[in-house]
């Protein structure tokens, strides 16, 4: 309503413009819900499975063990250099399947929208989900949409995706297969996604050219599978970064691991941002990086295979040295000094000075 109207004493509780913003009505299960799905989701993501319009998708039996995973995405801001929440929701789940030694095939897409979210925002995220699914070669076969009460201009959205992949590695890579002497191969420079998001946070006023490394790992993992080299374990370096991934794997099998700091690639811009805020790039999130634990005899060749597929610098960054200390990770630096690597308690907090 505008002030020119003669009566402004009451505001209709029903949606005022269902074309420009998400309203609670879009989650009501009625006409608006159907409109949202039929005009803004299905035309983008439609495929024979989704088009069954049933409560669930009936999928073909692949004849091989399936990998199944789920993840939720709550990133703010919704858009960042190199991607958005939609890109993350597709690639994050796709990459978890890849790490299980599977080729991702099908995703579910569950959207929780906040009342007040701009329809145009919603649409551009759906567009990037469409594009990401295409690039990762997966189909979105079932989904759900809910609307929750919003916070006006700060209205956002949350996404949950579950994914099914067909395992190709036999036996599948697993933390239990890590062995003494394994080399750790990293597929690119680290710390981009976390610093990119940090720089966009409210009040940060920090300009940088850093783009998220957000990317699907399907092609890289497929190339590893086709190479038939001995890959014992893979882990993507998301929350908690490289150090969390390596520390968790070291602990789960009780293996001591040594990392070589000079071999771990970090972009100068990422290093500067981390220095400025007192963060450790080793503990900053990534969305397109993983480490492979490779049988020492195949280490060099695996690096070559990855180097052909991976966009970043592929490096051998460490080695499983034995079981003596029951799962300790040590980082050796260029000075001959070393320190232990550990999980951070909660989130890293920027320092005072």
């Amino acid at each position: 309503m505008t002030s020119k109207e003669p009566y402004t004493g009451a505001v209709c509780p029903v949606e005022n413009d269902p074309q420009s913003r998400i309203t609670l009505g879009h989650g009501g299960g009625g006409r608006l819900t159907r409109d949202l799905i039929e005009t803004r989701i299905r035309p983008l993501l439609g495929n024979p499975f989704l088009n069954q319009e049933h409560d669930g998708a009936v999928l073909p039996n692949p004849g091989a063990p399936i990998a199944f995973t789920t993840d939720s995405y709550v990133v703010t801001p919704l858009f960042f250099p190199g991607g958005d929440i939609g890109t993350l929701a597709v690639y994050g789940t796709v990459n978890d399947l890849c790490m299980s030694g599977a080729i991702p095939k099908f995703l579910s897409l569950s959207l929780i929208l906040q009342e007040g979210l701009e329809i145009s925002t919603f649409e551009s995220i759906m567009q990037s989900i469409k594009l990401s699914a295409k690039l990762a070669n997966v189909q979105i076969v079932t989904g759900d949409t809910k609307v929750i009460e919003g916070q006006g201009d700060e209205a956002g959205m949350f996404i949950t995706t579950s994914g099914i992949g067909i395992t190709v590695f036999d036996p599948p890579p697993s933390p239990f297969r890590i062995a003494e002497g394994d080399l750790l191969v990293l597929n690119g420079d680290i710390g981009r996604h976390g610093t990119c998001i940090l720089a966009l946070r409210d009040g940060m006023e920090f300009e940088t050219e850093i783009r998220s490394d957000c990317a699907p790992l399907t092609d890289q993992v497929q190339a590893l599978y086709q190479s038939k080299y001995r890959i014992n374990c893979m882990r993507d370096l998301t929350r908690g970064g490289l150090s969390a991934a390596v520390v968790e794997l070291a602990r789960s099998g009780g293996w001591d691991i040594e990392l070589y700091e000079p071999e771990i690639p970090v972009l100068a811009a990422v290093q500067s941002a981390c220095d400025l805020f007192g963060l450790d790039p080793l503990a900053v999130a990534n969305e397109g990086r993983f480490i492979a634990f490779v049988d020492a005899r195949d280490g060099e060749r695996v690096s070559q295979v990855l180097a052909e597929q991976a966009p970043g610098a592929v490096r051998t960054i460490g080695r499983v040295i034995g079981p003596d200390k029951g799962g300790q990770v040590r980082l050796r630096n260029a000075y001959g000094g070393e320190r232990i690597l550990d999980l951070y308690s909660g989130e890293q907090l920027p320092r005072i000075c």
Binding site: G203, Y335, R339, I340, P350, I352, C353
Partner: protein, 363 residues
């Protein structure tokens, strides 16, 4: 060339370590005052590459560690008021007060926001006129000028809903306290380069001449630290006491006169309680009466009841004076961890206990 390869160059590090070895003829104990410097030493394992006869003592220069419990209690009390949002540096959020910390208070419903600079807090205040914004100002002469400038800006902009809980502290009185302790083992100091960038070297010359020791103004990169230490040892070996600036690419002898002027304009020097160390004369900065409408302690005096100082089992006072190394503390890594800290040095990103726990860990 960037600062990253210029001041972290492995070959130059090796050369400096060799030079340090060449000049050292006896045992020396050198204290780095700043907790940030402690972390760099441990993060890169540099302390273990030094000649055996050189010991590092870790000093009290961790703003989070020395902020008195009463300030954290006050911050929590303010954050719990429905009309107040408390804005704080992230580092302060997990530090235990006498009953709780700010992060726990936040999960229990208190309004606490993390900011990266005091100006962000003022900007937040202007964007939220219905709320009272209180900025929790902690730290040494490094962070204090920005707070002073923000208070001046708040005055110019006539900000009605902005105030500062001011717990700032000054370094030189703490150094004097350390040197007055009969058991101190300090032969020389590495002074914090960023503090001297603001305050200059003059305050330190008085200390160096009174206590007859070298004080070397030192930066924060691995090469800065090793060079500062090298110059300190050279001076010790030559009995050449006084202040030397080994961080001249940033710090100037007179300091930053503009920042100093702002400090004097907004703050007055007061006695202040340091956590674990007790009251140190002339060691605090309080907001002058002329600007007291921006002083949260004055504005919300009715919400702040002075609590009697409670004794803590954490021996942080001895840690902060270099009398006890973190891994010598009976609680370290046993009943005191970053998840369940007994004292502030285990939580702060500049705390010595946190450095030992994160990079070194024993027990």
């Amino acid at each position: 060339m960037t600062y990253q390869n210029a001041f972290r160059d492995p070959e130059t590090v090796q050369r400096l370590l060799q030079s340090l070895d060449d000049v050292t003829t006896r045992k020396w104990s050198v204290m780095e005052i700043c907790g940030g410097q402690t972390h760099v030493f441990l993060k890169y394992g540099l302390d273990r590459l030094l000649p055996k006869s050189i010991s590092l003592l870790h000093g009290p220069g961790c703003p989070v560690c020395v902020t008195g419990v009463e300030w954290i209690d006050a911050a929590v009390a303010l954050a719990n008021r429905s009309d107040i949002t408390l804005l704080s540096f992230g580092d302060m959020l997990r530090v235990p007060g006498s009953e709780t910390d700010l992060l726990s208070a936040k999960s229990a419903g208190a309004s606490v926001n993390m900011v990266y600079s005091p100006m962000d807090a003022l900007t937040w205040a202007e964007a939220h006129p219905a709320k009272q914004a209180v900025f929790f100002a902690v730290g040494f002469e490094t962070t204090a000028p920005a707070v002073a400038w923000t208070i001046e800006q708040a005055e110019k902009r006539n900000a009605q809903n902005f105030s500062v809980l001011c717990a700032h502290v000054r370094v030189p009185p703490a150094i004097q306290l350390l040197l007055s302790h009969p058991d101190h083992r300090i032969d020389g100091f590495l002074a914090a380069g960023h503090v001297c960038t603001i305050m200059g070297c003059k305050e330190y010359e008085i200390i160096a001449s009174r206590f007859q020791l070298p004080i070397v103004v030192t930066g924060f990169e691995p090469l800065d630290l090793l060079y500062g230490l090298y110059r300190c040892v050279v001076r010790l070996e030559e009995k050449n006491f006084g202040v030397e600036n080994a961080y001249s690419r940033v710090a100037r002898d007179p300091g930053n006169s503009h920042a100093q002027q702002k400090l004097t304009q907004i703050f007055e020097i007061v006695n202040r309680n340091w956590r674990g160390l007790g009251t140190i004369p002339q060691s605090g900065l309080a907001i002058r009466e002329r600007y007291r409408h921006f002083d949260a302690k004055w504005r919300f005096a009715d919400s702040l009841s002075p609590r009697p100082e409670q004794s803590e089992i954490c021996p942080s006072g001895r840690i902060l004076q270099g009398l006890l190394r973190p891994d010598q503390c009976p609680y370290f890594g046993v009943s005191c961890t970053p998840e369940n800290p007994l004292g502030a040095p285990m939580v702060s990103s500049e705390g010595a206990c946190a450095a030992y726990f994160r990079y070194r860990r024993k027990k």
